[in-house]
């Protein structure tokens, strides 16, 4: 009697485990960063920008919240956008984050989203790279090396 109950409980426990294993696989965001680059900056320029494609191959949305680099004192997430009169506006991103949808990607590019590097410690020199730590809401910190070049990597 007692042994029968133990076996039953064990069987239930096993099936629950199998269920979790089957369903829990691809959940959560999966962030990949490609094609990062930052434009070389004039010597006296106080600010620069970094661009990249942020992919989320996971099953859940994530948010890019902030960044940090030894190359600049301040890092802000900004967005340039053009209105119908060809006027360019630049703002900190709405809500303070960039949404990276599940199964989708967001391109950071000139004239759009960019990571603004403010108060550059020294000018961004073509051919060098700068380390950049990106902080995501769910994926946590991701560290990348950003090549300084005139355009995105080919």
């Amino acid at each position: 009697m007692k042994i029968g109950r133990i076996i039953l409980l064990f069987a239930i426990w096993c099936s629950l485990l199998a269920l979790v294993a089957a369903c829990g696989g691809p959940s959560g965001p999966q962030i990949e960063i490609e094609g990062a680059w930052a434009r070389p900056s004039p010597k006296m320029a106080g600010a620069g920008a970094a661009y990249m494609v942020i992919k989320n191959t996971g099953g859940e949305d994530d948010k890019l919240l902030s960044g940090e680099t030894p190359a600049a004192e301040v890092v802000e997430l900004h967005e340039s956008y053009m209105d119908e009169n060809q006027v360019m506006h630049m703002r900190a991103v709405e809500g303070g984050y960039i949404q990276i949808p599940a199964g989708g990607q967001v391109e950071l590019k000139p004239g759009g989203y960019h990571i603004m590097l403010i108060k550059l410690v020294e000018p961004l020199e073509a051919g060098t790279t700068i380390p950049l730590t990106l902080r995501f809401e769910k994926s946590g910190e991701i560290e990348i090396e950003v090549p300084v070049s005139e355009g995105p990597p080919q």
Binding site: R39, P42, M44, A45, H78, M88, G111, M116
Partner: protein, 212 residues
């Protein structure tokens, strides 16, 4: 016999006439193509109007500079500011490419960059910024807020200061187009943000050819 000869002659005449028609049509096509007006890639001003003159301060020499000084050249007039990390470098980088495409012809071209942020953009900063892209670009500083307002208005350039606590200080919204002015001082077109450098170079080459 004579009838046959006559028909042979007629055939020759017909072939000759046909050949003539083909040659003439070909010539007409070529002439027509040569005479066909070139359509600018830029948004054309129709009709073109005299580009409003201005006098601003050269960031390179500290001396006053007028649009008139560049008569005989194609002038590209852009407005921006040096704290701009995205749109302005993208544009200056595009025009750097335009200069590279044009090669020697740039002696008849002048890219001008007017700051909409004279409060922070010192001559040294402007000169450093433009020469980073191309040493032939020229930074211009309006001597007063009124001068800036006047030249911006003349070229339909909107600009506005926004201060919302960025670490970069205040930011400027501004129209991101480039005015295209021909060697005769006529304002011919408006080049949109991120236009193809090759198409911009084609427009400039056309205006230089036309001016000759």
């Amino acid at each position: 016999m004579g009838d046959r000869k006559g028909r042979g002659k007629l055939g020759l005449i017909l072939i000759g006439a046909l050949a003539l028609i083909v040659v003439l049509a070909g010539a007409a096509f070529l002439v027509g193509r040569a005479l066909q007006p070139y359509n600018l890639h830029a948004v054309e001003l129709d009709p073109p109007r005299p580009a409003p003159d201005f006098t601003l301060i050269s960031a390179r020499t500290g001396q006053p500079v007028s649009l008139q000084d560049f008569r005989g050249k194609v002038v590209l007039l852009y407005f921006g500011y040096t704290t701009c990390p995205d749109v302005c470098p993208a544009t200056l980088s595009d025009y750097k490419q335009v200069y590279e495409i044009l090669g020697d012809k740039t002696r008849d071209v002048q890219f001008l960059w007017v700051t909409v942020d004279p409060e922070r953009d010192t001559p040294a900063k402007m000169e450093d910024y433009v020469s980073h892209f191309n040493s032939e670009f020229l930074g211009l500083i309006p001597p007063s807020a009124e001068d800036l307002a006047r030249v911006a208005q003349a070229y339909n350039i909107y600009y506005e200061r926004h201060d919302y606590g960025s670490g970069a200080g205040y930011l400027m919204d501004h129209t991101a187009t480039v005015a295209l002015i021909d060697p005769a001082g006529m304002w011919r077109g408006i080049i949109p943000f991120r236009a193809d450098p090759q198409e911009i170079a084609d427009d400039i080459e056309y205006l230089l050819r036309e001016g000759r």
